[in-house]
């Protein structure tokens, strides 16, 4: 009984946030996804060529979906009201993280399926790698937002890392976002684990600031 009440609560909070805070971001991510075939050829590509649009473009949805997670309560006037309620704000942030990550996974899966139907060589490793890329990029910006409270700066942090990857590629070792284009899948797990760490630190930092 308590479990079902709890589940209902989670769903109700998620529903409101999905509608009011997530929808515009999802729309922008869908636009990115739909632009990808317009910018890149996605027919009959081998795995290395398939990795190109996934790593270089689709992974940007991570920035769009993850970075603004703390933004709805950026306004002090809203923050105090939400913070004074029984349900902890951290709980809300975690719900947002979960549905944002689910959003990334769903969009990557949809696009990968589309590429598969176009005759591309899609593997689970490619799909997981793209998700890891997206989460890593987004979680960097999320951490910046937790620390600075400044959304443009947070986007800049993610974008800067993206630019560094274009300029330096393999010099970034196991944190190279574009490794799959060279057939290297080792960074995927590093990027994924790092993204989980960044997200955890972000939520903790936000919680710490709230309890000052």
């Amino acid at each position: 009984m308590k479990q079902s009440k709890h589940t209902l609560q989670v769903w109700q909070i998620a529903k409101v946030n999905l509608r009011h805070n997530f929808l515009p971001l999802l729309l922008l991510s869908v636009i990115i996804m739909m632009l990808t075939p317009a910018l890149f050829g996605i027919t009959h590509l081998d795995s290395k060529a398939t990795a190109v649009p996934l790593e270089m473009f689709l992974s940007i949805i991570g920035i769009i979906l993850l970075v603004p997670i703390f933004q709805p309560e950026h306004d002090d006037e809203i923050k105090d009201i939400i913070a004074s309620k029984y349900i902890d704000s951290t709980y809300i942030h975690l719900i947002r993280v979960v549905y944002s990550v689910v959003g990334i996974i769903v969009l990557v899966l949809i696009f990968s399926l589309f590429m598969l139907l176009c005759g591309c060589e899609i593997t689970m490793a490619l799909i997981c790698g793209t998700i890891a890329d997206a989460m890593f990029l987004g979680s960097m910006g999320l951490l910046a937002l937790a620390i600075t409270g400044n959304l443009p700066v947070s986007f800049m942090v993610s974008l800067l890392y993206y630019v560094i990857n274009i300029a330096m590629k393999s010099k970034l070792g196991n944190f190279n976002l574009f490794a799959m284009m060279d057939g290297n899948y080792k960074p995927n797990s590093y990027l994924f684990v790092a993204s989980i760490i960044f997200i955890t630190i972000s939520v903790s930092v936000k919680r710490g600031f709230a309890k000052k």
């Binding site: 922008l28 632009l35 910018l39 890149f40 050829g41 027919t43 009959h44 590509l45 060529a49 190109v52 649009p53 270089m56 473009f57 600075t148 400044n150 959304l151 443009p152 700066v153 986007f155 800049m156 942090v157 974008l159 800067l160 630019v163 560094i164 274009i166 300029a167 330096m168």
Partner: protein, 413 residues
């Protein structure tokens, strides 16, 4: 003074600090702050002077034709329209047109999209099984025209585009050419110009996107602090306010860039003692090459932020930037187009290419500056409308769209 205050506001923001960090990270990671290891010396007889792309018809024509026939047989053409690999398959109509082109170049007949060799032979459909050769009667101009047609059929960015044809023709640089290149650098670039150009090539990548964040922050600051009405009610004209803010963003972005450009350039001054150097080269290049990119980036930031009241400008500029830097990959040797955002010239030498492309580059930079200024004027108009309560950004757009939808449904009814 208003400009001083706006610059202060801009510079004392976290966004600006992040911009400086981005600039430093880029310049340090790409090793463009210290060129002392890359001294340009007078060529020695018998050394290896590298290779160069050179338009040698005797090399280009057979190689490009052979490649075209191979791709025709497989009906699979490789293209890089925005710098990314794309595999193009032609439909029947276009395939016939392509067959026409090959027929023109080889003299062989074509029928229903297939090339006929001899009387009854037909070209095999599998890759590599081509026996068609380039006709001796075809001039290079005719050949190029046919290649352009082929590239258009493929959709651009193919191996047969004007730019990519040169990829079939690499030749070794001769001693005389090496001396000529050196003399060009000494006389036209005065050495420092070459380094300044290379600096701009790398830094342009950052400067064509990051100023949009500064501009968005500047525009959203009033809204965040709930100061809009306080400012709207003041005497200062919208023109003065917007222009001052715009210039504060430009100055804030350009000052550190100029400083870094000089740091980069000064690193080689000592290597050319006794030679005639252009000490103003870093200034000329940062202003002429980089500033237009900063201007358009900031202008787009201000325009869309004032129009919508949201940071959507970041996504818009981001998209243009993304396409531009990837298209730029195919133009690294210094070829320019009229609407590029961040001109590339990823070579220390290649002065001749720079000189050849100078007019296009200058036209491009002027077009970009013109577009930026137009956007700024449009921003002033929007701001003035908002000040009079006739426009409230995104809400007005939504209302207009809703209004249009209503009108449509009414007329349908």
């Amino acid at each position: 003074m208003l400009l001083g205050k706006e610059i202060r506001k801009t510079v004392l923001s976290l966004t600006f600090v992040a911009f400086i960090i981005a600039l430093l990270v880029m310049t340090i990671s790409q090793d463009v702050l210290n060129f002392s290891d890359e001294v340009i010396v007078f060529p020695k007889q018998g050394a290896d002077y590298g290779i160069q792309q050179k338009e040698v018809p005797e090399l280009i024509m057979p190689a490009a034709f052979s490649s075209l026939c191979e791709e025709f047989a497989a009906n699979e053409y490789i293209a890089y329209p925005i710098g990314f690999y794309k595999s193009v398959k032609l439909n029947d109509t276009d395939r016939e047109k392509m067959a026409d082109i090959i027929s023109t170049l080889s003299g062989a007949e074509q029928e229903d999209g297939s090339i006929i060799i001899g009387k009854d032979d037909e070209v095999s459909e599998t890759k590599g099984d081509i026996e068609v050769t380039l006709s001796d009667d075809i001039s290079y101009e005719e050949f190029r025209a046919c290649m352009k047609q082929a590239d258009d059929l493929i959709g651009g960015g193919s191996n047969y585009s004007e730019n990519n044809l040169l990829n079939y023709s690499y030749v070794a640089v001769t001693y005389e050419e090496a001396i000529e290149n050196y003399n060009l650098i000494a006389s036209k670039d005065k050495f420092t110009g070459a380094y300044a150009r290379l600096f701009c090539d790398f830094v342009g990548i950052i400067l064509s996107i990051f100023p949009v964040f500064i501009a968005v922050t500047v525009c959203l600051k009033d809204r965040r602090a709930k100061m809009n009405e306080l400012i709207y009610a003041r005497k200062t004209s919208s023109f003065k306010l917007i222009l001052t803010r715009y210039f504060s963003v430009i100055i804030a972005a350009m000052l550190p860039t100029i400083i870094l450009a000089y740091i980069s350039n000064i690193s080689v001054w000592g290597q050319y003692s006794g030679m005639s150097l252009d000490y103003l080269a870093p200034l000329k290049y940062t202003i002429g090459w980089l500033m237009p990119s900063v201007m358009i980036s900031a202008a787009i930031g201000m325009f869309f932020t004032e129009l919508t009241g949201t940071p959507i400008a970041i996504a818009i500029q981001g998209l243009w930037w993304f396409i531009d830097i990837n298209v730029g990959v195919s133009k690294l040797r210094g070829v320019h187009t009229l609407f590029e955002l961040a001109p590339r010239h990823n070579a220390l030498r290649n002065t001749q290419t720079f000189l050849d492309e100078f007019n296009t580059l200058a036209a491009n930079r002027l077009i970009i500056v013109g577009a930026a200024l137009l956007l700024v004027i449009a921003t002033v108009i929007i701001y003035e409308q908002k000040r009079r309560g006739e426009l409230s950004g995104y809400e007005t757009i939504k209302t207009h769209i809703a209004g249009l939808a209503n009108r449509k449904s009414k007329s349908a009814a």
